[in-house]
């Protein structure tokens, strides 16, 4: 192999999505994040004898929902399995998971690539399982502390085919999963808090080779950016290793986002002998045709369909439609403004330029945006009727945001109060126009001599004198009319 060897990257992702259920996977106790340690527990979560797991119906429904949204086949009958290992944060001694018969299988998702084309990534399987508790190693010098609040939290594991060919494609795939789970409302998608987690399997092979080479697994990819960075680093590491005569060994690596490199995890002694067997405590999971149809009806319009609809129905650009539909709450917010009578394009512009600016500045989510759709539609109407300038619209929006969610003042009332209504009244404008023309005889002369570009200069002067309240269109007309009187 020489430095000229062209390598192809092969990546498969395993994504864990923590489900937004009220209760745990197999125990009727709260699934909330952030409670005091060991308070959201039942004897089942603690692994006490004599307890029996009973599946949460939403564990099954959410799995089917995600399966349908990713074009998977749904098994009418699947079983849970025990994955056996000893670790203190899993007091039963096994994790309830699925092994040979995952509930969803053979699906796919299309991801958008940078050149505008799309690529289909196969989904091998989606299976249901429970999470382990949390081990804390750094609070007590001699002991490990265990919090079992998370033990039994419902998870879906989404396993892709090794169809991904670059770190960028991996990032795009991950974003798509994030988008879909949020659209479906099955997971909050928060990667930093670990409710959406990603492990990557990566290998390289000389271009043209059919067989896969030895792969490494990278864990702890807790942001889209880290998925791309870690994979870029690892692909380079493997290439350098192979080109310098070494070979890749199968190992589990941990991405260190501070050091920007992967490092080896200390390997457990008997690696991966989980001795799976069918979970005897839970009968097979049956998904009936009725259930399937019911769940199919609950699936909302997905981002891709919504984006295309925004382009065809509202005439938005591809870019605008993509920005608006990237996250469901933003798209819902956009549509709620339209329901209040606003037109699509100005509403889209308002959200994309102004509202997103405010969200950025204030570190706020659209779901807590203090100005409701009705008042925003009012603001857009003022602008649409040319009663306020575009800069006044920005000022008004900021004022409405600052007034907070309890303020009921309409955009019109505020504009009046803040003296931002454009004046189209010639009784007010005439004297200002005349004054400006009188005070700038040189410019008037040059304008009349054919320098019509100077119109902007006059309008600017007049806008200034009117403190921004003059209607620029009106001013233009007045200047064009009155300047001829100076001939």
């Amino acid at each position: 192999m020489s430095v000229d060897t062209q390598f192809e990257t092969v990546i498969g992702l395993e994504v864990h999505a923590q489900l937004l259920t009220e209760s745990k996977a197999f125990a009727p106790v709260s699934n909330r994040f952030g409670s005091a340690p060991n308070t959201n527990v039942t004897p089942l979560c603690l692994g006490h004898p004599g307890t029996l797991p009973v599946p949460n119906e939403n564990l099954i429904r959410y799995a089917v929902k995600l399966g349908l949204a990713t074009n998977c086949k749904i098994r009418p009958k699947s079983i849970f399995a025990r994955k056996n290992y000893f670790y203190p944060d899993m007091p039963k001694g096994y994790q309830i998971s699925q092994f040979e018969t995952p509930i969803c299988y053979e699906g796919h998702m299309d991801i958008g690539l940078e050149d505008g084309s799309t690529k289909r990534i196969g989904i091998t399987r989606i299976h249901m399982e429970e999470d382990a508790g949390k081990s804390i190693h750094d609070q007590d010098p001699h002991n490990t502390l265990i919090d079992l609040n998370r033990a039994g939290t419902p998870l879906l594991e989404i396993v892709s085919e090794p169809d991904i060919r670059s770190p960028q494609e991996a990032g795009a795939y991950m974003r798509k999963i994030w988008q879909i789970v949020r659209y479906l409302g099955v997971c909050d998608g928060n990667m930093e808090e670990g409710s959406l987690r990603c492990d990557a399997n990566v290998s390289i092979r000389p271009a043209g080779q059919k067989e896969f080479n030895i792969r490494t697994e990278i864990k702890n990819l807790n942001s889209f950016r880290n998925v791309e960075r870690a994979l870029t680093y690892e692909v380079e590491r493997q290439k350098e290793l192979v080109l310098s005569g070494g070979s890749v060994i199968q190992q589990t690596l941990l991405w260190d986002p501070n050091e920007m490199r992967t490092r080896q995890m200390r390997s457990k002694e008997e690696a991966h002998d989980y001795r799976y067997f069918p979970e005897p405590d839970i009968p097979p999971v049956l998904v009936t045709d009725e259930m399937l149809e019911e769940i199919r009806l609950e699936i909302p319009e997905l981002p891709e369909a919504r984006r295309l609809r925004y382009i065809s129905q509202f005439g938005l650009t591809d870019y605008d439609a993509s920005v608006l539909t990237e996250d469901r709450p933003l798209a819902d917010f956009f549509e709620s403004i339209l329901e209040q009578g606003a037109s699509a394009k100005p509403a889209a512009n308002l959200i994309i330029t102004e509202i997103r600016r405010v969200l950025n500045e204030k570190g706020m989510a659209i779901t807590t945006f203090p100005v409701g759709p009705e008042r925003l539609a009012g603001l857009l109407a003022l602008r649409g009727e040319d009663k306020i300038s575009s800069s006044a619209m920005q000022t008004l929006l900021d004022a409405m945001v600052d007034a907070g969610p309890d303020s009921a003042a309409s955009a019109g009332e505020l504009a009046q109060e803040m003296n931002l209504l454009q004046v189209s009244d010639t009784g007010f404008l005439d004297p200002i126009v005349e004054e400006v023309l009188r005070n700038n005889p040189e410019e008037v002369k040059r304008y009349l001599g054919g320098k019509h570009g100077l119109i902007g200069f006059f309008i600017g002067q007049i806008m200034k004198k009117s403190q921004g309240k003059a209607n620029p269109g009106m001013v233009r007309e007045l200047v064009q009319k009155k300047i001829t009187e100076f001939k």
């Binding site: 209760s23 009727p28 106790v29 599946p55 079983i79």
Partner: protein, 95 residues
């Protein structure tokens, strides 16, 4: 196929069981007896019979997604060999 003493020790370790040499040797015999019986069963043609994954074929009942009150915090920690006021305490696990 037969079970060796190393197989038994490997499985004992996975199951966190401590066996004496005598116990291990007797388990080798027991397990080989069980495998011998399995070989006898294997003479039956089961190619048309789906595997029995569960004794009940009625399907799991699902539980409505509702949270009930949890186990009282003190109760939860009570039976642990070691705990502080918040956490279970176990010998240090090095990852």
């Amino acid at each position: 196929m037969s079970v060796t003493i190393d197989d038994v020790k490997y499985m004992a370790n996975l199951a966190r069981l401590q066996l004496s040499e005598d116990e291990a040797a007797s388990l080798v015999r027991d397990m080989n007896d069980i495998l011998g019986y399995m070989e006898l069963l294997e003479q039956v043609d089961t190619s048309d019979i789906p595997p029995l994954e569960h004794v009940s074929d009625t399907g799991a009942g699902f539980r409505p997604d509702k949270a009930h009150p949890p186990l009282d915090h003190e109760e939860a920690l009570k039976n642990a060999p070691d705990a502080d006021s918040d956490y279970f305490r176990v010998p240090r696990v090095i990852d």
